[in-house]
């Protein structure tokens, strides 16, 4: 069995990749994918610790996260499509009608 510490390192690496993706990528869909990666990093933690702690709560939480992530992706893609229809771009640098 893979030791929990290694799973934790893996999930932290996923978290870091996701955060970097959100901060550096400029395509709205890629940002959305990076956010999904952060959610999955949390899921990996939940599942791994559910195993080590011998407690089912983590797995249940994982299922809820998957459901919520699906709903969120649906709404997110709808917003991106509405934006693309009006502006013809999904580059977040060009989405700057409002600035202080």
């Amino acid at each position: 069995m893979i030791p929990t510490s290694e799973v934790l390192i893996f999930s932290m690496a996923l978290l870091c990749i996701g955060v970097l993706g959100v901060l550096t990528r400029r395509n709205a869909i890629v940002i959305l994918m990076s956010i999904e990666m952060i959610l999955n990093a949390a899921n990996i933690n939940f599942i791994a610790f559910s195993q080590t702690l011998n407690n089912l709560v983590g797995q249940i939480f994982g299922v809820f996260v998957i459901v919520v992530a699906a709903a969120e992706a649906a709404v997110g893609l709808a917003i991106v499509i509405a934006l693309y229809r009006n502006r013809g771009t999904i580059n977040v640098d060009e989405i700057n009608l409002m600035k202080w």
Partner: protein
Amino acid sequence: MMDILGSLFSWLPVELWIMRPELCLTLAAFLTLIFSVARRAFQPRWLGYFSIAVTAAVGAPLLDLFRRTTELPGQEFVAWNGMFVVDSFAVFFKVLFLLAAILTMLMSIRYLDVEKAHTGEYYALIMFAVVGMMFMVSARDLILLFVGLETMSISTYILAGYLKRDRRSNESALKYFLLGSFSTGIFLYGISLVYAVTGSTHLRVISDAIAEGLVNHPLLVLGLILMIVALGFKIAAVPFHMWVPDTYEGAPTTITAFFSTAVKAAGFAIVLRILVEGMLSARMHWAPLVVILSAASMIIGTLGALLQENVKRLLAYSSITHVGYLLMGVLAVQRGADTGARGMVAIAVYLLAYTFMNMGAFGLVVALRREGLVGDQVDDFTGLARRAPLAAFSMLVFMLSLGGIPATAGFIGKWYLFGAAIKADYVWLAVLAVLASATSLYYYLRVVVRMYMGEAEEEGGLRPSGALASALVISLVFTILMGLYPQPFIWLAQHVVLY
């Protein structure tokens, strides 16, 4: 009324019986969705009135629950193995959400006609968001809290982009969605670390585990920090505030009003639940972070608002400043039972006052909206006093109240909050808050000066719809009443205590 509704639900098992406000609202939201399919038979306007009526009627079971939970101190009803709890804390916030939702819907009816985007789904989404908030404040388990939070967030992402042909609304929704779901991810990762250390997602179990010596576990501290960062995004505290001005400016004005009152109050409710009920023993780790968030929010919010020419943006920055004040209340919650209750009561009083005055201020922006005029520039208020003296007077009251002038609701709120901060030995923070609120008078009064000193470019008064006028009157009456005779409101807020 109360008895009829009570007997209507008496057959329910007790677990569902304490959830009847949520159940009624969910049912009403689904009915609204179904009716809105038949546009010819059910005009959206009538769906709006239906939603307002249902939301107001849900107040009856809530008042019943309020009576039952306040009979004894610490009285509470739990369901689902302690996941869902109805205590006076939760009931107070639920009443606040209903109030904000009703005012929002009243303001929306004419506004959506002008925007040519009137559909029943709008009201259903507001009700779904309120259901999410209600589950959030009643959650004593992080799973339920997360699901409630997301029910609210997903509904509000859609509402921010509701005007789908308006580019600014699209942009507002995208920014809100990306940063909101990013913070959700961070929040989840924080929860997963806390779960890893404590082996539970139940706040009481987490609290016990922390008290038994896990308090300095590095993973727990990291998880706590990540959760505070995510909550900072949700309540819009500096440095996690970048999305606020853009989202508030671009979203439909009525929805901006809803964001700045109900969504913010829900955020504070879960901040209190998590930090006070779950993480009280780890206070030395989170208090310094909250101090930084509070001070930075007051400074950046005040500076940002100084030069805004757009009223919605000005109110967005002012709401960031108000988050800074409210976070002082979170800090004051600690240090013994007595001061603890004081911080909590201060937050409740302030949120109550803030709901009325901010709803009113946004209501005036809605009233200025008509064909060909967005009405969200400070210049649009020029000379309003001559065109519509009553509207100008109510804007004057809301602005003075937001600035914290005595004899208005805002003063009572600030009095309690600043007092709580001083009692909890955060004197320098309270001094900063007083300085910030003195500076904030400048930008609130700028609007007032334009209204009373400027010359109007056009003639004719405002003709708000009856619903909008009643929302404004409710906000105005409560803002003044709370300033002159605050006792009943303070009595209400005194029940907001977590045991």
